[in-house]
Symmetry: C2
Subunit: 106 residues, 2 copies
DNA sequence: ACTTTATGTAAGCATAGACTTACGTTTTAA
DNA sequence: TTAAAACGTAAGTCTATGCTTACATAAAGT
């Protein structure tokens, strides 16, 4: 259940920018920070948050560290979202038939 | 593309709780607030954020207001997540073949 | 017409967290 | 063996935002 961390990780704009830069392939921390409005240490902290959310993985290569997108966090998020589709439609169809205000206790 | 608002909306724990309570069907604002650790006005503010993110829709029924899950925000989020699957795998396969550190400019 | 119920909004406060500068560590190059 | 390059971490600041109390509005009951 890491969808909580994945959500708050991707909620921040600059952190999302860092994450999206990995779309075109793995990159070093320094490269990820280049051209951004924030400092390099800030990017390091963002990468830590992304890693703890299972959204990126890192590998040491020489004196730099290469980051890549990790699918675990993405899958956790996706299955969380998908869990709404079925449930919701059924519950709503029922609510419509009964033509009620609110009834359920949860 | 409202996936930004949807992400920051679902990032907050209590707001997520409110949203998840709609799983079992539409409910009034007051009913959604019952049993929560926060006050009722706080829930109202959360519902506003969820509405602006396209995650819930509301309808006035008598003197109460019924909220339901809106699929727009969920779909925006899902397509955002899905946009990573294809891109990423291709770019990474290439990076693996070339056996490189970081090369791309974006 | 008043009162009660159900809700949203305003203003202010308090904390989480995003950012900075400064420093420590490890690896490569001179 | 110094120096430099690439990175993470610490400590402190500042702002975004989640929360509260108080007030406003609107519908329904008496």
């Amino acid at each position: 259940m890491t969808h909580e961390k994945a959500l708050s990780a991707l909620a921040d704009p600059t952190r999302r920018t860092v994450f999206e830069r990995l779309r075109s392939g793995p990159k070093s921390a320094g490269h990820l920070a280049q051209g951004l409005a924030v400092s390099r240490p800030a990017v390091s902290q963002h990468l830590k948050a992304l890693r703890e959310a299972g959204l990126v993985a890192d590998e040491k290569r020489g004196r730099s560290r290469i980051y890549r997108i990790e699918h675990g966090g993405l899958e956790a998020l996706r299955s969380y979202l998908d869990s709404f589709w079925g449930d919701v439609l059924d519950a709503y169809k029922e609510a419509l038939e009964h033509d009620e205000r609110d009834q359920n206790s949860d």
